[in-house]
Symmetry: D2
Subunit: 329 residues, 4 copies
């Protein structure tokens, strides 16, 4: 079986997914849609696919699945439309910035029994996936404490900040999903502290750039998350899981791993510059997982519910900061 | 000038300090006191010093300074006695488990203008000291976020737990001091979560074995602390400081740093088995710092106030757990 | 300009190069030839190219360049044919196992003024290329001593050994090229020692499985090479260059870089299992370099002469072992 | 039993050994001798021992063992004198720069049945000793290939060079001993190449500063040695042993193991500045081993014969360079 794809959105991440589809022998990229015509043309030319409108893709009998890479505020509407159209749906996170809107949207997904997978790409990073596998294989016994470090090389532009839903919904949300992926239990308490240390403009927009979070599960497992919009040395992405029998950790990745030694010491080059290069394999692997789930007729993960829970944790973290207390979820 | 020492307590840590004194050319170990006669005899024989009672040491004109390594519940009394006797005092942490008793004791120290240094040995670890030096040298710009990981190889016996004052006052207190040492600002908010994941007996004694803490300073700097009474791979002691210009970290230390590679991968031996081997240099360095401070006639650090503040943070952390909220300090 | 390719040989490495060509927007894979029809069909289907005979490719006006991935004993003949046909040629190493035959072949290349690039893929590994760049950038001053470690995960089958030309021409030849790439001077003396330590069958075929080589240049620069047909922990590929101002090294690469810690210590997974996964990027980069050289109309490197010199060093190493003395070259 | 020591030579290494003796509860430093009176006085004052002449130490009934740290050209004479005087002898390497003189001296040691240990300190480094232990424990199967890297931070003064016997007898000799320690077989062939790349003055004295050596044993095991009188990044001391089942390596040691990350990458401080700080533990451990051997009445290792064989390998290496061929030993 070949899964036939329509791609909605031909921007930066759309291009990444298009490449993942066309290099997968079980998949075919049939058409791309983008409001910005030049973007659609370039992508279509690069991959030898058609340009169609979203309506045409919705009604197409030669398309089985869509990948939604359009702006966030269109995600929930598109998911509902394509769920009703009987297409399998991969949607970039988040489904929406509003929990109620997400719940409404997931209601439609359930009614239509649609396949929906949400783009928490980090689960598919080979190193993080290997951490999870080590846990599943019993290498560290029962999981007790998780530490997640996630620092962006630099703050995004003010324009992006104002549309992002804030650092918890935009950035920490990935760590909330990763925490759930690794803890094996849902958090029941969220405590967050947030400051503006990197860029005052972020604070003027009502957002934060430096946050610390503790998550606790019903059985007392704990997760520490450390986020910053600043890391001069590159995109800092680490996880560490402690269990009853041991510890498993995934260290940072480097594009070039040489070391130069001289009178100043031993120096290795900086980390990847950002997520597009750091998570190249993860993006390819997540589309592969989506294709495999469709081909096998099984539920795709992470699901819409996974997206919802991560968003709810982000909301709880923000309330924790605003109300200066631990939020029970 | 040679600083002449009396040692109070000839137990495990007393032996370590005796060695630091006798191998320092600016210091001399004159006498040791210990209620357990055999311990005093062995130490006196090993270092060629006298055995005296605490009273004799208090009144001795040939002793300038004392090192207090007796049980915790004797610390405050001994500090007061030796402060009044005009001796310089090095006291193992904590001064007392009760904040009011510590304040009272420090009142005597102030009145008598005594020199008092508290044994937060980690400040003197060459690796942690180098982290602090990197900060002081401006290598990472303004400090923004600190992460401290501290895991014991195993839980102490129930008997110890019940006298310890609980994990925050016994174990995390070192991290509270290290946080202050690195943040360069005092925390104003403490949020802690605590669980019993390692040993139910600890829970039955009303204590915890796994804790996560967030400290926040007035300017919004944050510190994450992760503690566990379990680490199968050895004594896990790491710090990481992020600043506006970069990051500085001190990794774990190993007694033997070989690596064996075979079909299972690359394996390095476990970490040090506990603090006595991990902090060998730190113990020697702190006594050297104490001797140097006396010789130079300057204030010794960490001071009694440093001990008090760390204890107050420990109390706040415990209240945070009990009351399930952030405590302002 | 789009460079139009014919691929000769659809085996394991042919597939790798086909992928590199088709994913390069400046290149197009027009046709593939393989004596084994099924291999040609699969590759043609995967990449949407034609199947042609070698004769047809030789005479094709719609093909600018060929990639030769056929068995070694056909390389020299094919290079001569395609040089005369006016095609640019990329040929897997070695050109031939016989120095005289290589010289003869390169004579034809010179006469026809053909573009010829030889597949010493390691020069294009991003980590090794970064080592070279550090040297070129003056980071370590004048190069003085080079150490190259190259160990295969396991011995090849006897059948391969007997056709390989022996370990020096088959395996060490890559290190000879890397030595020249890094030393910046040609070796003038070769001393080699060789043993059979891994597999007696290799010895029975007159070959060796464990070799140590010292190369010395006219100015006294030295290179140490260590090779083995055994490495239980994966494909061991390291280089280290010492210069007057410092050192630069490229460490081994791992497919998954997690670390698991427990009572036995800290364990990282094994290295890549062999060259196909270790040098994925290198293979893509070398074809890119070939395409760029054609497009720019400049000489491609490594050249046929580079192939010849590496082979001559391999021959000298073998003579050094046989005659138990240093060979001047 | 307490082993009573006389120390011959109160220079840099004499002080190190004095400290090792006085901090060992099974040993006592009775007296020191040094032609330079001030040096003897300082050492005697620091350790509370007597100053005696060499003659007095030779005839002393209260001295069981001597440590010889005098200039190299006095070693053989002193060994003979103290062997005849019935003292156990620890002598810094080398016994003499001349093989015949060493053989003569060892003849006296044999006749007198004296205990003689030669100061190849590296065998007692905890990391190198752990490598040997891993081999003995069968962790890597049969040893096949050894690589030893040894680079000094800088070239010694011309004055030292001219008395040193040349780089092979002064510096590489440690690696020859280490090779034997790890190979478990004596080398039968030595090939060396040597250049002057660091300091022309060294060449003018007839010595070299950069050498590469291959040792081969009767069964074909190989050892590569790389030496330089230059390493801008500190004292570079590494070993790596490959066997039939795996590999074991000891990496470099650092006095401070922090890491600073910023836009230029990740930087760790330089290595130890030289052997006095790098091999602190090794020096203490070797004296402990000597004391233990005397106390237990067993043969001390490394023996005089170990010193002789290492010197013979150094001579062979020099001949290999001079005659440009492999030397059989």
């Amino acid at each position: 079986m070949t899964v036939r794809f329509g791609l909605l959105g031909a921007g930066r991440i759309g291009k990444v997914h298009a490449k993942a589809v066309t290099s997968n022998s079980e998949a075919k990229l049939v058409a791309v849609a983008d409001a910005f015509e030049k973007a659609a043309q370039d992508l279509a030319a690069a991959h030898g696919c058609e340009i169609r409108s979203i309506d045409e893709i919705e009604q197409a009998s030669d398309i089985d699945a869509v990948i939604i890479c359009t702006p966030t505020d269109t995600h929930a509407d598109l998911i509902e439309r394509f769920a009703r159209a009987g297409k399998a749906i991969f949607c970039e996170k988040p489904i929406d910035l509003d929990v109620e809107r997400v719940e409404e949207c997931l209601g439609v997904v359930r009614q239509t029994n649609a396949t929906l997978m949400v783009g928490f790409n980090r689960r598919f990073d080979p190193h993080f996936a290997a951490v999870r596998k080590a846990i599943d294989d019993g290498e560290i016994g029962d999981v007790e404490m998780v530490t997640i470090t996630s620092r962006d090389p630099g703050a995004p532009p003010a324009d992006y900040i104002s549309r992002s839903g804030g650092i918890f919904r935009d950035m920490t949300i990935h760590d909330f999903d990763m925490a759930r992926f690794l803890l094996g239990e849902d958090p029941v308490a969220v405590t967050a502290h947030a400051s503006v240390l990197v860029d005052k403009a972020i604070g003027e927009l009502g957002d934060y750039d430096s946050v610390s979070v503790i998550l606790v599960t019903a059985s007392g497992k704990q997760c520490l998350i450390s986020n910053s919009r600043r890391a001069t040395y590159g995109y800092d992405q680490r996880i560490e899981v402690h269990g009853s029998k041991g510890m498993v950790a995934a260290e940072n990745q480097r594009p070039v791993s040489i070391e130069i030694a001289n009178g100043s010491g031993y120096t290795r080059p900086p980390l990847h510059d950002f997520f597009m290069t750091r998570y190249t394999e993860a993006y390819a692997n997540e589309i592969t997982a989506f294709i495999n789930a469709i081909a096998a007729g099984v539920k795709a993960a992470p699901s819409g519910e996974d997206g919802l829970i991560a968003l709810a944790l982000a909301d709880a973290a923000l309330r924790s900061v605003k109300e200066d207390r631990t939020i029970r979820v």
